[in-house]
């Protein structure tokens, strides 16, 4: 085990984005591969913060500074990943549905998924269904993650899923939904594969979806 992994993990847990870059470079120079650094340092570090968040021992500020530290390390590692490794634990396309411009929760989910080793492609907000469809065709993601804050925009999730089905793309993709307007029963009703109440749970659900 590379001796710098623990230092990188500590940077993430402590939200230290200023020294994590140095430790990341040290690990690479020591012979660790980018994928191994992600697997053995970044992911465990983010998981640790995620577990504390689930126990209400850490809160959004701690989660965010950990994500910032993680991103600082990923910035160094991402260009060095092989094409195969860049997909990580899975590729996720994420976006807020049509009619909704809220993005805070979606952004946090995206960062947490990156910290968990997923490759995340963020389509932004107010995303029309056909843009989700074309993204699926172009990027072949493992997971499509849909976010909605407004009760009035949540039905767009069903529209997107229906269009994915009629486009013949449903079999190859898992669909994860979330947002203040969404519940687990709503997720079931629109035909999603998974639902997450927060960003930490989104990681857990995403992992189980790709392992199915």
């Amino acid at each position: 085990m590379n001796s710098y992994y623990e230092a990188i993990r500590k940077c993430i847990v402590g939200g230290d984005d200023s020294t994590i870059g140095g430790f990341t470079m040290n690990a690479l120079e020591d012979g660790a591969s980018p994928a191994n650094i992600i697997e053995n340092a970044l992911i465990p570090g983010m998981d640790s913060v995620g577990e504390r968040f689930s126990r209400q021992e850490a809160f959004l500020p701690e989660l965010l500074i950990a994500a910032d530290a993680m991103k600082a390390s990923l910035e160094i590692l991402r260009p060095l990943l092989s094409r195969e490794d860049s997909r990580g634990h899975g590729r996720v396309v994420i976006g807020t549905v049509l009619g909704d411009v809220h993005d805070i929760g979606k952004n946090i989910v995206g960062w947490m998924l990156e910290g968990a080793g997923f490759q995340v492609l963020d389509l932004g907000v107010d995303v029309p269904p056909d843009r989700f469809i074309s993204s699926i065709r172009q990027e072949s993601p493992d997971i499509l993650a849909l976010s909605a804050l407004l009760t009035t925009s949540a039905p767009q999730m069903g529209v997107v899923i229906d269009q994915i089905r009629t486009s013949g793309l449903r079999e190859g993709i898992k669909i994860l939904v979330g947002g203040a307007a969404v519940t687990s029963s709503y997720a079931l009703s629109v035909g999603a594969d998974g639902y997450a109440v927060d960003a930490v749970e989104a990681v857990r659900v995403a992992r189980s979806l790709v392992s199915e």
Binding site: F59, L64, G99, V101, D103, I104, T151, A180, V197, D198
Partner: protein, 328 residues
């Protein structure tokens, strides 16, 4: 003798045994309160507006759907903008123009004013929500400086209101959403060290004038509620009672805090039928109200924004009236 609307509300808040549950359903003609707000620039002034800049320089954006939108342009997104930022003027006459006229119709009613986006909300609207959460840990001094300026502004506005409308106002409503679906947005200990002293100053000023303090806060703020009660919060406006836990909150705070709110706006009003709305209204009254007061039935307008209907809001009003066990 029938109590005036003012007396009904006052007694509900102060547990002085009103003769019925007060109501705030203005659009249906049942409102024991009268609002006189300063002329703060609202996120959107009319339905066709999708972008707007408020008096703090925050850019509001929303989609085609009618909703409150989100601040997308933050004047203090970068700390180097602080030196050249023009703070809004709490003495700006435009804020108070026409306030006397707003009292028309207030006779015998409980008069409520407001300073919306009070502390934390204004802070993250200025600096950015995610940036503010991080900088509470990383840039504490700068965050303290900005929050102090916001508090000074609020307190000056309150002072001005009390002088411009002497003896006319009975309460003030603040808004600061503090909860996610599962808990407070920040560590309660951090909240107590940073924000609680600020709220204390604000609440003490309001009580010193003789007004009640109302607070609107969304999300699961259970971990902060005891602190708010300790600070002297008089009325809590919580619109997601199912997220808080109706029975839990009732067990802890019934008889100690007055609640003013609707049935749950995330689950009940958008998704349930009229019978279920009736049932929840009854549960709220039973769990949160007492024979001495402590509950105010309050509407939630802009039903399209949260997926309800006018019919369901009316059903909620009927339910609050029907289940008023203490109506004399």
């Amino acid at each position: 003798m029938t109590l005036t609307s003012y007396e009904v509300v006052r007694r509900a808040i102060e547990f002085g045994t009103p003769d019925r549950i007060p109501l705030r359903f203005a659009e249906f003609g049942f409102d024991d309160t009268h609002s006189v707000a300063p002329n703060q620039i609202l996120p959107f002034e009319h339905q066709d507006q999708h972008e707007n800049i408020d008096e703090w320089g925050c850019l509001w954006v929303r989609s085609r759907l009618d909703n409150m939108g989100q601040v997308k342009g933050h004047p203090l997104a970068e700390w180097n903008a602080l030196d050249r930022y023009r703070w809004p003027d709490p003495d700006n006459p435009a804020l108070y123009e026409g306030m006397d006229g707003k009292l028309a119709g207030a006779e015998n009613k409980y008069v409520l004013t407001e300073v919306i986006f009070t502390l934390f909300e204004r802070l993250h609207m200025l600096h950015g929500y995610l940036e503010t959460l991080q900088d509470l840990l990383l840039e504490r001094e700068r965050i303290e400086m900005v929050t102090e300026r916001i508090l000074e502004y609020d307190m000056r506005v309150i002072d001005n209101l009390s002088h411009k409308l002497p003896n006319a106002i009975h309460g003030i409503c603040f808004t600061d959403d503090w909860g996610t679906q599962q808990g407070p947005m920040i560590n309660p200990e951090l909240w107590r060290s940073f924000f609680k002293p600020l709220y204390r100053r604000l609440f003490d000023q309001v009580h010193g004038i003789g007004w009640h303090v109302w607070l609107h806060s969304c999300g699961k703020i259970n971990a902060l509620l005891e602190d708010f009660v300790e600070l002297g919060l008089d009325v809590g406006n919580f619109e997601q009672p199912r997220t808080l836990g109706i029975e839990e909150i009732g067990n802890r705070f019934r008889g100690r805090l007055c609640f003013a709110g609707p049935c749950d706006i995330q689950q009940t009003l958008p998704q349930k039928d009229e019978q279920q709305i009736f049932d929840e209204a009854k549960l709220l009254i039973n769990c949160w109200g007492t024979p001495q007061g402590g509950f105010i039935g309050q509407d939630k307008d802009l039903e399209e924004s949260y997926g309800a209907t006018v019919k369901k809001r009316f059903a909620m009003l009927n339910a609050f009236q029907k289940h008023d066990r203490w109506r004399i």
